[in-house]
């Protein structure tokens, strides 16, 4: 663990910005799990529990990334479906 000038370990990245973004723009509850762990990073670090803060940081990263990738996959599936059904609809309306 890296330390700051006072000799305390540096506060690990809390992923609060990213998890808030996932909550608001990915339409998935995984972002909320990310915010919970982000809050734990802050609270545990302030309480001097550096190991706990590091673990919470890893969990926050995990849930934020899960939310992001599922959101992205959902978007791709939607676009593919839209493209095929959209194309089928145009084709259908012209020929049937």
């Amino acid at each position: 663990m890296q330390s700051n000038m006072q000799g305390q370990p540096i506060q690990p990245k809390n992923w609060l910005v990213e998890s808030t973004l996932v909550t608001i723009f990915c339409c998935l509850p995984f972002g909320i799990a990310g915010i919970v762990f982000a809050s734990q990073v802050n609270t545990k670090y302030q309480a001097g529990d550096y190991e706990g803060a590091l673990q919470a940081s890893k969990d926050a990263a995990k849930w934020t990334k899960i939310g992001f990738w599922i959101g992205l996959a959902g978007l791709l599936i939607y676009l593919i479906a839209f493209f095929f059904f959209g194309v089928a609809a145009i084709w259908g309306s012209r020929h049937f």
């Binding site: 910005v17 909550t23 339409c27 915010i35 809050s39 802050n42 609270t43 302030q46």
Partner: protein
């Protein structure tokens, strides 16, 4: 050197792309914007429902309508912008100014409570709670 700029570059492309997309096409009226999968499965509004329409409304200058679509998104947007600007300046100036607000326990718990209360309240189908529904 290359990796230092790689992820921020993707962020920049994403942000500019999203701003262009939602200002050129209005999510309030255009059909092909993706629907929320959570809403399709559960018929419940998640904290993100309405954020696309809120963004389009905001980019088209209709502030009050954007609040109606997603109050939470409009509240947290200035904080996210602040984070983006500080991180961008840190990267360009090789500084390391920390995001104090985001690392304050009170702020992060406040965000969590706000998200949960918002999600709960917008799903109560009774006036005045349903004003928060998209």
């Amino acid at each position: 050197m290359k990796t230092r700029f790689f992820i921020p570059l993707i962020w920049c492309i994403l942000v500019v792309g999203i701003l262009l997309l939602y200002s050129l096409f209005d999510a309030r009226y255009v059909e092909w914007f993706p629907r929320c999968p959570f809403y399709m499965l559960t018929k419940l509004y998640c904290p993100g429902c309405g954020s696309q329409r809120a963004l389009s409304a905001l980019l088209h200058g209709d502030f009050f309508q954007s609040i109606k679509y997603n109050f939470l998104a409009i509240i947290v947007l200035p904080f996210l912008l602040y984070a983006g600007v500080v991180n961008g300046l840190n990267l360009l100036g090789k500084r390391n100014v920390p995001l104090h607000i985001f690392y304050a326990p009170a702020f992060s718990w406040a965000v969590l409570i706000m998200v949960m209360v918002f999600t709960l309240v917008r799903n109560i189908p009774v006036y005045p709670f349903n004003m928060l529904a998209p």
